[in-house]
């Protein structure tokens, strides 16, 4: 009876009750989110808007006042050969790092899909570098590679049977090899973890069907594993690309951007003009240019991800 009575006329009750409760709820929700909005406005939106003003004025600790300078800050960055070179270094290092990390991560993930004794311990050891601060990673690799105290050259010499005198931190191309080595050591486990998750999610019956049909190992990998794994690959590569283009810590510790400006990345370049030379308006202009370039990459990658999701 009751049900029927409510079913007969449910809306008038709701209409009568909702307005006061809804108003109260709405106010309460606003009350709850207001502190968060204020914090975001204060520490994120305000600096962003402030930085737009800084772009067009002189904001340099060594030059009094904040005179309007138009596009001068942008021009100084765009026409600075060090800025252009650091962008090139960033692109090359990022591409190399991510490619090697992907290939190694995939190889290790494939090796770890099968269960065997000690697998858990090995996986635990493999992912340890992920928990280490990049500054510590850079310091550790610098200590390993630095002449004359680092043991690397000595060990290589023992292996090769002749003296090895590589200056890993100051001699091209070995300084880049050292930077890639440190990055790959730390971030391959990230690729490995994500790809392993993707591999274990592939339904076993697909492999069983392929086996029954007599499909070879390579074809199985290429036509089953890779298509199933593609979304995870895209995700892992996207994350790593976005992280790798900010490369700073290991450069700061291992090479100091040198020799000359040989190992300057964009982040290191911006740090130098902002916090070594204190040309804050020029550093801000550089940061905005870099942000826009990064956004292009981000939009491209996100579209690819969404496309894969749709398909």
């Amino acid at each position: 009876m009751g049900d029927a009575a409510f079913a007969d006329n449910p809306t008038p009750v709701s209409r009568r009750r909702l307005p006061s409760a809804a108003r109260s709820d709405r106010r309460f929700k606003w009350l709850l989110v207001t502190p968060a909005i204020l914090v975001i406005l204060a520490i994120s939106i305000y600096p962003l808007v402030f930085s737009i003003w800084v772009l067009f004025v002189n904001y340099d600790f060594q030059i009094p006042g904040h005179a309007y300078v138009g596009l001068k800050n942008f021009r100084q960055v765009i026409f600075d050969p060090v800025a252009r070179y650091s962008l090139l270094v960033t692109v090359c290092l990022t591409a190399t790092n991510v490619l090697i990390e992907f290939l190694l991560g995939l190889a290790i993930a494939l090796a770890m899909t099968k269960t065997f004794r000690g697998r858990g311990i090995i996986i635990s050891i493999i992912i340890v570098p992920l928990f280490i601060s990049p500054v510590i990673v850079g310091q550790a690799w610098a200590l390993l590679l630095q002449r004359p105290f680092g043991p690397t050259n000595y060990l290589l010499g023992q292996l090769l049977g002749q003296e090895v005198t590589i200056s890993w931190l100051t001699q091209w191309p070995w300084n880049f090899v050292a930077l890639v080595l440190a990055d790959v050591w730390q971030w391959t486990p990230f690729m490995f973890v994500i790809l392993l998750a993707g591999l274990t999610a592939i339904p076993p019956h697909v492999y069983e069907a392929a086996e029954l049909d007599g499909v070879g190992t390579w074809q199985t990998f290429w036509h089953i594993t890779m298509p199933y794994l593609a979304p995870m690959i895209a995700l892992a590569v996207t994350f790593r690309l976005l992280d790798s283009i900010r490369l700073f810590d290991t450069i700061f510790i291992m090479t100091g951007g040198g020799p000359g400006t040989q190992t300057y990345t964009v982040s290191y370049y911006l740090y130098t003009i902002g916090f070594t030379q204190f040309h804050l308006s020029r550093a801000t202009a550089g940061a905005w240019i870099f942000l826009i370039l990064t956004l292009i990459v981000v939009v491209f990658l996100v579209r690819r991800l969404l496309k894969q999701e749709e398909s």
Partner: protein
Amino acid sequence: MNDRERRDFEAGLAREVDSWLRGEPTRRDFIKRFGQATGMLALSGAVLPPFARSALAQSKMQLEDPNTPLGKAQAAALKASTEGPTDGSAYRAVEAAKQYSGVNLNMTYEAGLQALDPRNFSGPLWQDLTGIKSTVVELPPPDMYSKPISEHIAGSSAYDVLDLQPQWTPALADGGVIAPLDDYIAKYMNMADLEDYHPLYKALPTYKGKIWGFFDDGDMFALYYRKDIFEDPKLNEAYQAKFNKKLEVPKTWEDYAQVAQFITDQMAPNVYGAGHFRKAASPGNQFDFMQQFRANGGRFFDENMKADLANEIGVRTLENMKAANAASIPGNNELDAVSLWAAWLQGKIAMMYSWPPTGRMSAGYSQSDKAISFIPQSSIAGKVGYAIVPGGHPEHAFGFNKALAADSENPEAAYLFMQWACSPPVSLARCMLPYALRDPYRISHFKSELYGELFPSAPEYLANLNNSANVGLLDPIMPGAQDYQLSLDRMATSVWAGADPMEALKTAEAEWNATTENLGVDSQKAFYEEFLKLPGATPDNTVEKLGMAVQL
């Protein structure tokens, strides 16, 4: 309560009860917990400060055994502060500062060893004497410049006493970040104490006719060499046979490279002729280039304020530095100051030039404190000689001024601390701390018998630092100094990596000109001309050339 209100109430109550039964937090929960949190916060306002104060409070004062030279110096500092002479700067500062008992001074110091002095010695002692507390804010070198400016722009009054590099004085004085001290000096200081500064350092805090701080760290480069190697008869014989001259401590940079190469050829891999801090972005290359370039006759700018680096003198300087690198310990170009010390203290290097702590570490004195245990014990104590660097004009690299923050809420108390800390007896005790990196800078430091007792060769060490200051050269003190020096570091490290010296010099020259134009050619020219008036600005204008040399 009418029907509608009752239904609303019951519906609301039902929702609350249902949520509670499901274990969900309800609005009531939220308000209750928010109230609890606010109450806790209010309560913590009263309870936490004592804990916070305790955590931030100065360490307990570390005083040495009064029978040791350092203990005696500390006792003398204490006596000068409490008993006088009553016209001494230390005594006057303490007496005047007692009226500010209870206030707290925030003081910036370079992070690490430099900050141990105010934490372990001068800060607690000052508190005992005056009741003025202090909080040490440790900052890495770039932040020692940028943070005071940021806080000044924000008007936060965050700092009272600032440790600053002399090269920053013009920018910070013009920017209103630091305040002049002249009125306070006239009121409180014994003027004789100003005359106790070595002439090279006395003028460093002076800008536009006013005094903007007290110089407080004599960062003079000097040559440290292994006496046992230079006195080795077989080595001397071989050198004589090869070069037809006596093996002696080099006086020119060409000789330096030649001697280093000879020692390396004779003694490697046990000992190498030299070692240098050549790592990119690690202070070293720029100072080394500036001292050699100027000693070779180079000038930084021409009459029109155009950079004057890319010339025969610049090439000669870089070529000679390259020759010295080639004669050095393997990995020379990757070393920073600390790793160079490690190689030196282990006896792997026959010559090096560096900052004054090198002498104290070589004697094993610094390592007597556990704070400095990150460098090896000295295996060369008693074997080290001291000399002025080749070329005869060592660089005064960095150094520190103590300056008064213009926004300080307790400017007089801050000033009085600075006067006291830099007064002759107190600054001597601070410079003698084994863990501190403060280096002698007063004439009374160089003449100090107590300092001379710290280790057997301390008198020669002090005499060499004094003699080096007599002929030493200053880093350019002008806006853009960081930019100019960064360009030199990039130039030098690119040459170490194989770049053509002239091309590298041209790149640096272009960067210098861009910096000058950015900052304003006329204003930079005025700053540079002001700098050139300082004793030690050029080899023709050293303390010695001006007839002001200090003879011990």
